[in-house]
């Protein structure tokens, strides 16, 4: 860009620069500020104010020498202002403002980039802060969609606009979710620290399920005409990588990362040239991302190495690994896939797992036995309303030569399916049955 161009391009380049720093540093900035202020809501507010101020100042004056130092110093000043305002009402805030002011000098906006030791975070505390932030953002007092929004905003460093785009909701909805979430955390007096050993397992499950929701939303858009929102899936992978570095001793974290990598490895083959869904059996396996498969296998190895048996994510990753290492659908080790689904059904029973087991059984033993599993599911009425059940049932009936019934099922599946691309695949299949 030419100097002095002014106007929108400059604003645009400032926005991109701010976004880049925020992506890398949001967790540490909000983490450090929360520890300093003891107030997560305030920390997030002042961090966002600093980001907003950066957009204005950087587009006017260019990005500062140390962008992260600038953001932190600005956020800290905002926090001091807030404490001073409050100290008029309450003496304790004066002390907090004083404590923040002391650190001010060493973290001014002009920190040269090679003097990063001056940044006010303690290298030994960063891991704890980021971990505490993840557990706070995924706290059980929050509604599931609030956990997702807050995690993407403060841990992954996405803007409200990016989150809104990812989940196809209006920007104000995302902002309202985040505001409410912060108030809820403050009202519930959620302490800013990783959970105690006693509740660690359960709380970790909460964090993992938030990452899983983000990944799933990115890998199968539940509605709309796009099949993949891979940027969102990538954010989940990035967060899982960070978490696996922070908690190397937790096998399910590695299991989840393995599942993400192995699933994402198939993304390049999942969408056809016209944007249509390509099913596993029709995918050109040469398009699979071998580096992602290798990373996924390594993560699965770490999950297994703990020797405590695989959890639900690790088992799903092991199933994905069967597909990833098979040269074709018929050459897949379907017996092993059936065993893994049985194991998954024991640790995390669900009708969807049952349905997937039926698909694997169909491959290993033929459609007859699989159909009886599916019919049991139909009878139990546990998946009614989902397009998955009639679509699998339709496939099995087609393979058994019961064409008319198959067509009815596939058409029903198409009516229930909310993803336009998937729906057109189902309709094509139904039409092809004669």
């Amino acid at each position: 860009m030419s100097p002095g161009a002014g106007g929108p391009p400059r604003t645009e380049s400032a926005r991109r620069a701010v976004e880049a720093v925020w992506r890398i540093e949001s967790a540490r900035i909000v983490g450090a500020l929360t520890r300093y202020t003891g107030d997560f809501e305030l920390a997030e507010d002042v961090a966002q104010e600093a980001v907003a101020e950066a957009l204005v100042t950087w587009s006017r004056e260019g990005a500062p020498e140390s962008p992260v130092g600038w953001l932190l110093a600005t956020a800290r000043r905002r926090a001091i202002d807030a404490f001073r305002r409050r100290s008029a009402l309450d003496e304790r805030y004066a002390a907090l403002a004083g404590r923040l002011t002391e650190g001010e000098a060493s973290s001014g906006a002009a920190v040269p980039p090679d003097r990063r030791d001056d940044l006010p975070w303690d290298p030994d505390r960063i891991d704890d802060d980021v971990l505490a932030l993840m557990f706070t953002a995924c706290h059980p007092v929050l509604a599931p969609e609030a956990r997702v929004a807050l995690t993407l905003r403060v841990v992954a460093g996405l803007s409200s606009e990016e989150i809104a785009r990812g989940f196809l909701v209006p920007v104000p909805t995302v902002q309202a979710r985040i505001t409410r979430a912060k108030k809820t955390i403050a009202a519930a007096r959620v302490p800013f620290e990783p959970p105690s050993a006693g509740e660690r397992r359960e709380r970790l499950g909460g964090v993992l399920s938030v990452l899983y929701v983000i990944f799933t939303e990115g890998s199968t858009a539940t509605s709309g005409d796009r099949l993949l929102r891979s940027d969102l899936a990538y954010e989940a992978i990035r967060l899982a990588r960070t978490l696996s570095a922070l908690l190397p001793g937790e096998p399910e974290v590695h299991g989840l990362l393995a599942l993400f990598e192995l699933t994402a490895a198939r993304f390049p083959a999942r969408v056809g040239p016209g944007g249509e869904a390509v099913l596993l059996e029709d995918q050109d396996r040469r398009l699979w991302d071998r580096s992602a498969i290798r990373r996924g296998m390594a993560a699965l190895g770490r999950a297994s190495a703990a020797g405590r048996g695989l959890g639900p994510y690790g088992l799903q990753a092991a199933i994905a690994a069967c597909h990833a290492s098979a040269p074709s659908v018929p050459e897949t080790d379907w017996e092993r896939v059936v065993l893994l689904y049985e194991a998954l059904g024991r640790v995390a029973p669900s009708p969807v797992v049952e349905l997937n087991r039926a698909v694997a059984v169909a491959m290993a033993d033929g459609p007859g036995r699989a159909l009886s599993i599916v019919d049991e599911l139909v009878a139990s009425d546990r998946l009614s309303g989902s397009h998955l059940l009639p679509s699998v049932r339709g496939e099995l009936l087609a393979r058994l030569g019961r064409t008319a019934e198959a067509r009815t099922e596939l058409e029903l599946a198409a009516r229930l399916c909310r993803n336009l691309r998937e729906r057109s695949v189902l309709l094509r299949k139904a039409a092809a049955l004669t």
Partner: protein
């Protein structure tokens, strides 16, 4: 997402600084930075090169290639190593590059690395390269 190569170019100044820095200290400084890239989930690859004085240059300026020992001509900036990172934007690549604990005098060039998907897939040679990348897990 896109891959970017951060190309590090050293100068006499940075090389001098490097030789006077204890090896252990250098390992720790670089190690900390590399660990940040790993934890952030963005590192794809990284390598550093041996002393340029140990290198060989093949010059295609004449009719036949001319081979000489030693560093590349009179160039003030010599390629010393690289990172490949997978990030959301060029700005993010720049932001990571600013954090490299490089010796004074070093320059870092940032270039996007096009993926194999961006080449014509019906080209026989691209197909061959793709097959090799599959076998070796380098896609």
């Amino acid at each position: 997402m896109a891959k970017y190569m951060l190309i590090l170019r050293g100068t006499d100044e940075s090389l001098a600084k490097m030789t006077e820095t204890p090896f252990e200290q250098m390992l720790e400084t670089m190690g900390r930075f590399n660990d940040e890239l790993i934890r952030a989930g963005v590192l794809v690859a990284a390598e550093g090169l041996e002393d340029p004085a140990q290198g060989v240059v093949v010059d295609f300026g004449g009719e036949t290639p001319v081979v000489t020992d030693g560093p590349y001509g009179e160039t003030k900036e010599l390629f010393g190593g690289f990172y490949i990172i997978d990030v959301a934007s060029k700005e993010e690549a720049v932001e990571w590059a600013r954090r490299i604990p490089a010796f004074p005098g070093t320059k870092c060039e940032i270039r996007r690395v096009p993926g194999i998907d961006e080449f014509p897939q019906d080209n026989e040679w691209i197909a061959r390269e793709r097959a090799w990348r599959e076998r070796t897990g380098q896609l």
